[in-house]
């Protein structure tokens, strides 16, 4: 099911995510020392272009990566094929992208935060 | 099951068997036949995965210069065959082997072991006067057949796998072949395949001996069919024994399989039940003597022994150092270990084992037979080896003549038309094949064992007239008894027991021919050794046996060898040519 192109996309996004994940985990570990609060998290990320790019890249990568990954699993373990399989991949990728994008937006530039 | 139940199928070129002969024929027929010619392969097993060419270990004989010449290869072949070979066939074998090895490397894609300078590595089997044997480690056959198999699979020939040929069906007037009756083993249904030309490359296979090396699918079907079709078979007494077959008891298929020649070459010792080396009693070269001599030495030693628990002799390698043995003979050490023996440090029981069949259908140098439309190549064809086959000439023979058969059929097929089968013969062959299904089921195996014991005892490594007569009577008994053994007919799909029965039928038929030919030859040549006639006889008066059906009986006659190229005592080598180019170890 995996062609060279999907394979490369999956690997490239994986490589991209590896440092991002490590970074994210490090921040989280640091952050949760002594409990998490919204203000704490948001205080750090609000208005930061850097964090926007950091998490934005992450979300794009994970959407692509996860969608391709689930596609494989859905084919091998779920028996999905053809258009259903393609639809599944795109659907899942889009959901991740939308939810992820919304989350990134929320923690960086969304104005509702201060309301 | 009636004749009307037989499915009819047509093709242009039909090939039986996928050893070196069958696969090469398929490739070459595809190259020479006109565009659009339909080629069909029918085989008892899976394409390329059955037969003995795949099992070739040592390698492929071909004179490639460095002092070696086609002439020298030819002389070794004639001398090895004790002047019985058909010289034109032997010559063509040696000459074409040179072309075929280039074809294997360049067109088929085989890779054979190299020297440090990049050229092909060659070694010498016993009986050769030059380093001539090309090889891929000690798994040469796998490389040759895998590459051929790929080519043939990719070529788009029609595949009839697990189709067993059971009868050659001639035309009404008997002059030509119309088609071949087969059992589709997977369904148990019959199929008549008509073809303009048919190659029989079913590879003989002396598996009627208690100890034998060939692949399990080889049971002399081809020769039995040819005999019934009235063709002449030559040199049928010539059964080659390999001296060192593994002896692991009669409840394992491992018994009889080859422990390679190289073990003795490297210094392996043969030890009698009394713990003594004995080969020097038979030959100054000891364990390094030729196959026939060592086989007879072991056989004689076994007869002296009356310990019922130990039938064979031992091969012992441990004095060479277990690590050396493990490293140099990894494959053999592993194979012994798989059946519970330790070749590197212990000793392994061995016994001579029936290996190759020199006899076969009488053919011309283009593989044509006396029956129009039928061609025979490989181990099924007689003549090229005479009384003994040199190690390395077997696979050369099947690939060279398989290719020639393909070329010949590809050309002959032009202008030929499909022929109508003789329906009475067809009905008789069908009858014959379904006979066991009409009898009360019983075990086939005990009869096969009985035949194997008999052939080993009476028509084996050493023979006598009286013994072979006993053998003949015994074979007749097994033959008769077999007709009372039926096969469960509840499901004919992949019914191996039915095929065991048919296998034994072929083996009985050919065992009789071997024995009759053995009785007819009252001298000792090559593989055929008569204790009551130990002399070889005058080479100038050499003749070969020819067996043929005459009415219900097998008749054996003798025909003089035609020395078309070289006469005994002469040579085609230049006068000053050295006796051997092989460095003495």
């Amino acid at each position: 099911m995996l062609t060279l192109r999907l394979y490369m996309l999956q690997r490239i996004t994986a490589l991209l995510m590896a440092p991002l994940v490590l970074g994210h985990l490090a921040v989280m570990i640091y952050a949760i020392q002594g409990g998490v609060s919204a203000a704490e998290i948001l205080g750090r990320t609000q208005g930061s272009l850097a964090w926007f790019l950091f998490y934005g890249t992450f979300v794009i990568a994970v959407s692509v990566h996860g969608a391709i990954g689930l596609r494989t699993v859905a084919h091998e373990w779920g028996g999905l094929k053809g258009p259903v399989l393609e639809g599944f991949m795109w659907g899942f990728g889009l959901i991740l992208l939308i939810l992820g994008g919304r989350a990134v937006w929320a923690v960086t530039f969304a104005t509702g935060v201060n309301a | 099951m009636r004749v009307s139940d037989i499915e009819r199928h047509d093709t242009d070129i039909l090939i039986l068997g996928t050893g070196g002969a069958g696969l090469f024929a398929a490739l070459h027929a595809g190259q020479t036949a006109p565009e659009g010619t339909k080629i069909t392969i029918a085989v008892k097993g899976l394409i390329g995965k059955c037969g003995c060419t795949r099992m070739v270990q040592g390698g492929y004989n071909v004179a490639l210069g460095g002092g070696d010449t086609v002439e020298r290869h030819f002389m070794d072949t004639i001398n090895g065959g004790k002047w019985l070979p058909d010289q034109d066939m032997a010559w063509r074998l040696c000459e074409q082997a040179v072309v075929r090895i280039r074809e294997l490397e360049n067109e088929v894609g085989c890779f054979f072991d190299r020297n440090p300078d990049g050229s092909l590595h060659q070694k010498a089997f016993a009986g050769q006067t030059a380093d001539r044997t090309v090889h891929k480690g000690d798994l040469t056959g796998i490389e040759i057949i895998n590459r051929l198999m790929e080519k043939v699979l990719a070529s788009g020939v029609e595949k009839l796998q697990e189709h067993r040929a059971v009868g050659l069906i001639p035309t009404k007037d008997g002059s030509a072949l119309a088609g071949v009756l087969m059992i589709d083993m997977r369904t148990g249904k019959f199929r008549l395949v008509r073809a303009k030309t048919v190659l029989m490359g079913t590879g003989g296979g002396p598996t009627m001996y208690k100890y034998h090396t060939p692949s399990g699918d080889k049971t002399m079907d081809g020769l039995a069919m040819a005999l019934r079709a009235g063709l002449k078979l030559r040199d049928m007494e010539m059964v080659q024994f390999h001296p060192t077959g593994l002896l692991a008891g009669d409840h394992t298929r491992m018994t009889g399989t080859v422990l390679e020649e190289g073990l003795r070459g490297a210094g392996g010792q043969l030890i009698s039940h009394a713990g003594q080396r004995f080969m020097f009693d038979f030959d100054p070269k000891g364990e390094r003597a030729t196959r026939d001599v060592v086989s007879r030495g072991i056989y004689a030693e076994m007869r002296k022994n009356n310990n019922p628990d130990q039938e064979g002799v031992f091969i012992s390698m441990s004095h060479l150092g277990p690590d050396f043995v493990r490293q140099k003979f990894k494959g053999m050490v592993n194979r012994c270990a798989d059946s519970g023996f330790d070749l590197a440090t212990g000793k392994v029981e061995v016994v001579p084992t029936a290996h190759y069949f020199m006899g076969g259908v009488v053919v011309d140098v283009d593989t044509r037979t006396a029956m129009e439309g039928l061609y025979v190549a490989g181990e099924d064809a007689g003549g090229a080896h005479g009384s003994n086959r040199l190690g390395g000439n077997g696979v050369a023979n099947s690939t060279v003549y398989g290719g020639i058969a393909g070329d010949t059929m590809g050309r002959d097929v032009v202008g030929m038309t499909l022929r109508d089968p003789d329906e009475t013969v067809l009905a008789a062959e069908l009858e014959r094949a379904i006979y066991p299904l009409t009898q009360k089921p019983d075990l086939v195996l005990p009869l096969r064992k009985q035949l194997q014991d008999l052939m080993w005892e009476e028509v084996g490594v050493m023979r006598t007239g009286a013994g072979m007569k006993r053998g003949l009577a015994g074979i007749a008994q097994v033959s008769v008894a077999l007709m009372d053994v039926g096969v469960d007919n509840s499901n004919l799909a992949f019914n191996l027991t039915w095929h065991d029965w048919l296998n034994l039928r072929s083996l009985c038929d050919i065992s009789e021919v071997i024995t009759k030919a053995g009785i007819a030859r009252e001298n000792s040549r090559g593989a055929h050794f008569r204790e009551d006639f130990p002399d070889a006889g005058a080479m100038e008066d050499s003749d070969f046996t020819v067996a043929q059906m005459s009415g219900e009986n097998v008749q054996v006659t003798r025909e003089p060898v035609q020395f078309t190229i070289v006469r005994p005592g002469e040579t085609v080598l230049p006068e000053d040519a050295p006796e051997t180019l092989v460095a003495v170890p």
Partner: protein
């Protein structure tokens, strides 16, 4: 010398395949000291159940016809000593996984070979029988790499061991891909473009998850997993040059 087994019979359970609706049959088989799995199966057919179907040819590990699932694991049966696979004195034998069953223990190996050919597992060359044989340095790294996989007997054990094959019917499988890698490294082979093309498609090498069952179970100690990794590397290299913008890559 092998020692006698500590029991006098084996309890052998055989999966009878689709004809028998997946039923199993149990047999008592006399135990011997030198006995392979193939011998056990043969004993049953020759003495107890004449209708039992299975396949073998060479009986010495050269033809690759005799592979079956033995105790849930794919193995060549002619070279597997029974003591290796017994659980107490019992063993279960079934048809090779991932291939259509013809009857009982005999499977149809055509899909395996069709994929072998589809992976361009066949020599591509311009030389003919009239040309001299190419001199080749056997110690050159590419040749060493090619030789590593050359002794494959196409037994399909790796194919049966691989879960990717079971989940993905298009996947070419370890043996065919290993053959492609061998050819890619063969100086005599001119099929580079065709091979890379064949192994980069939907059923290609990129489906392999490196689960390594092929390498673990190959009876000849070959390493298809590493061969496939080789293909992935080779295709990854060529990826940026050409393929990305072509359709269906």
């Amino acid at each position: 010398m092998p020692t006698d087994p500590p029991f006098d019979h084996l309890k052998v359970t055989i999966d009878r395949g689709p004809d028998a609706n997946g039923a199993q049959t149990e047999f008592e088989v006399p135990a011997y000291d030198n006995q392979t799995v193939l011998d056990v199966v043969s004993w049953i057919q020759q003495n107890a159940d004449p209708t039992l179907s299975y396949r073998f040819a060479c009986r010495v590990g050269m033809c690759g016809s005799c592979a079956m699932m033995v105790g849930g694991v794919p193995r060549w049966t002619c070279r597997t000593h029974i003591s290796k696979v017994l659980d107490g004195n019992a063993v279960t034998i079934g048809p090779l996984r991932n291939l259509p069953v013809i009857k009982d223990l005999a499977v149809d190996m055509d899909p395996f070979f069709d994929k072998w050919v589809a992976a361009e597992g066949v020599h591509h060359g311009a030389l003919t029988r009239d040309d001299p044989i190419a001199p080749i340095n056997e110690t050159a790294p590419a040749r060493v790499e090619a030789n590593a996989g050359i002794e494959c007997i196409n037994c399909s054990v790796c194919y049966a061991a691989c879960d990717t094959v079971s989940g993905n019917p298009d996947y070419l499988g370890p043996a065919a891909l290993q053959r492609a890698w061998t050819l890619l490294n063969d100086a005599k082979d001119d099929g580079r473009v065709a091979i890379l093309d064949a192994i980069s498609g939907t059923g290609g090498c990129h489906n392999c998850h490196s689960m390594g069952s092929c390498t673990i179970y190959c009876p000849n100690d070959l390493d298809p997993m590493s061969a496939i990794a080789g293909l992935k590397r080779e295709t990854a290299k060529s990826f940026f040059n050409t393929s990305f913008f072509k359709k269906d890559r």
